[in-house]
């Protein structure tokens, strides 16, 4: 494949796909809308095939760690057993219904779900440590952050109104006025940024996602 085709083909596909999606929003012609719906199904199928590529890479990396007895090789073994054990159980024994099979459901509910919750719950400790670093009053901005955070935290806890009843309206004002104003400013900026990026991608000017020098 020539360099020109390699460079321009993804841009042409991106332009056509983008225009199809925009057209689907404005043009209400059943045949055209069906074509776009089919295109979206094709995208989902292509993305599903990408999972296989991901699995192959993951397996290759961990199989190599296992064969070379690298540090932590037992974790690689656990990963491969869990990945393929559950895949075979859900896909073959469970006839593709996964959690409908009792063995799959057992491992899913007793291993995966608690592990997932554990990782999520770690956020509580990380919030504390990150807040400690961020709230140290080393500058005027950090001091404002510290004061507003303390007021909002106490105002939102049941103990806040018990200490001082006016904490609740102050907390509500901080959240509804300065906080919302700041957030909306960012949201408007993001919306315009997405629009600008969309125009650049559709016109083939933004090519960073195709690699350097594309």
């Amino acid at each position: 494949m020539s360099v020109a085709i390699r460079r321009n083909l993804p841009l042409v596909i991106t332009f056509i796909a983008g225009m199809l999606m925009i057209g689907d929003y404005y043009i209400k012609v059943p045949d055209f809308n069906k074509l776009v719906a089919d295109w979206l199904k094709f995208v989902n199928v292509a993305a599903t095939f990408a999972v296989v590529i991901g699995m192959v890479t993951l397996t290759r990396i961990h199989a190599r760690r296992l064969s070379q007895h690298k540090e932590g090789w037992h974790n690689s073994l656990a990963l491969i057993i869990a990945l393929y054990g559950l895949l075979i159980t859900g896909l073959v024994l469970g006839e593709g219904k996964f959690t409908a099979h009792p063995t799959y459901a057992y491992w899913f509910n007793n291993l995966y779900v608690p592990l997932d919750s554990t990782i999520f719950s770690m956020l509580a400790f990380y919030i504390a440590s990150a807040s400690y670093r961020a709230f140290r009053a080393r500058s005027a901005e950090a001091t404002v952050l510290l004061i507003s955070a303390v007021v909002v935290m106490i105002g939102r806890a049941p103990i806040g109104p018990a200490i001082w009843s006016d904490l609740v309206p102050i907390t509500s004002w901080i959240m509804a006025v300065p906080n919302t104003a700041g957030m909306r400013g960012i949201v408007i900026g993001v919306a315009l940024g997405v629009l600008s990026m969309g125009v650049r991608v559709l016109l083939g000017r933004e090519r960073g996602y195709l690699g350097p020098g594309a």
């Binding site: 990408a50 590529i53 991901g54 770690m122 961020a134 900026g189 960073g208 996602y209 690699g211």
Partner: protein, 242 residues
């Protein structure tokens, strides 16, 4: 936006945009990792390409191209972790191209672009584990992040990494601001590709975007004044348009 693009293509206008310290810090982060002889971790976020948050992933991949090129030039190692399977072939090709452009194609290792899991917290635990095991010296996270943002940022901090992060998800920005050395806020990540490419036409589009912001602010100000005067005509007009 299209008008500003046209003007810059025609060369009528040479726009400039302000410095974005977070993007300038990427070179510092890669340099630090090279000096310490430790790897870099890059995450393009957890957003899929075919969603409304897809542009954030594309923005992250644009930054990955820059990071990989710098790393290839400095002979540093980059670990790229992926949550969305469809992003992996794209990320692999970007890193391959970067090494090719830097003339270091022999150093390219496709196993350093690793799909960890399609599940949010399984991916998060994989990333944090990798950062600790590999003792990363730089942690760069640009893209769509949700609840895992702070797990990554604190994991990177504990690994002693210099951290550059950015997302357009407003709920996660405070975490990145609190825990990272440099933070790209909202639209800054979407401008990253244009900023790093230094292509005047792309920068022209950013200039058009700023013009759009100025127009929005003017409409907001007029709307506030009219609403205070008890006139809702602008409100009704915008309601009809959208």
């Amino acid at each position: 936006m299209l008008v500003t693009l046209y003007l810059t293509v025609k060369g009528t206008r040479r726009p400039t945009i302000r410095k974005i310290s977070g993007l300038d810090a990427i070179q510092e982060a890669v340099g630090r990792a090279t000096e310490m002889g430790r790897p870099i971790h890059f995450s393009p976020g957890i957003a899929g390409l075919a969603t409304d948050t897809g542009p954030q992933t594309l923005a992250g991949l644009s930054v990955l191209a820059h990071v990989a090129e710098l790393a290839a030039r400095y002979k540093a190692t980059v670990w790229t972790t992926i949550r969305q399977a469809e992003v992996q072939p794209l990320a692999t090709e970007i890193v391959r191209q970067a090494y090719l452009k830097a003339g270091a194609q022999d150093a390219f290792d496709p196993d350093k672009i690793i799909y960890l899991s399609g599940t949010q917290f399984a991916y998060a635990s994989g990333v944090v584990g990798l950062m600790h095991r590999e003792k990363v010296a730089a942690n760069i996270m640009i893209g769509g992040f949700w609840a895992e943002s702070l797990l990554f940022a604190e994991g990177g901090y504990q690994a002693g990494a210099i951290q550059v992060a950015g997302t357009a998800n407003t709920a996660q920005l405070p975490f990145f601001v609190a825990a990272c050395d440099y933070c790209l806020i909202g639209e800054e990540i979407l401008a990253a590709g244009a900023y790093l490419s230094k292509d005047p036409v792309q920068i022209g589009a950013i200039w058009g975007q700023d013009l759009g912001k100025a127009i929005t602010i003017i409409i907001l100000a007029i709307g506030i004044v009219l609403s205070l005067a008890g006139n809702n005509s602008l409100w009704s007009l915008l309601g009809k348009l959208w």
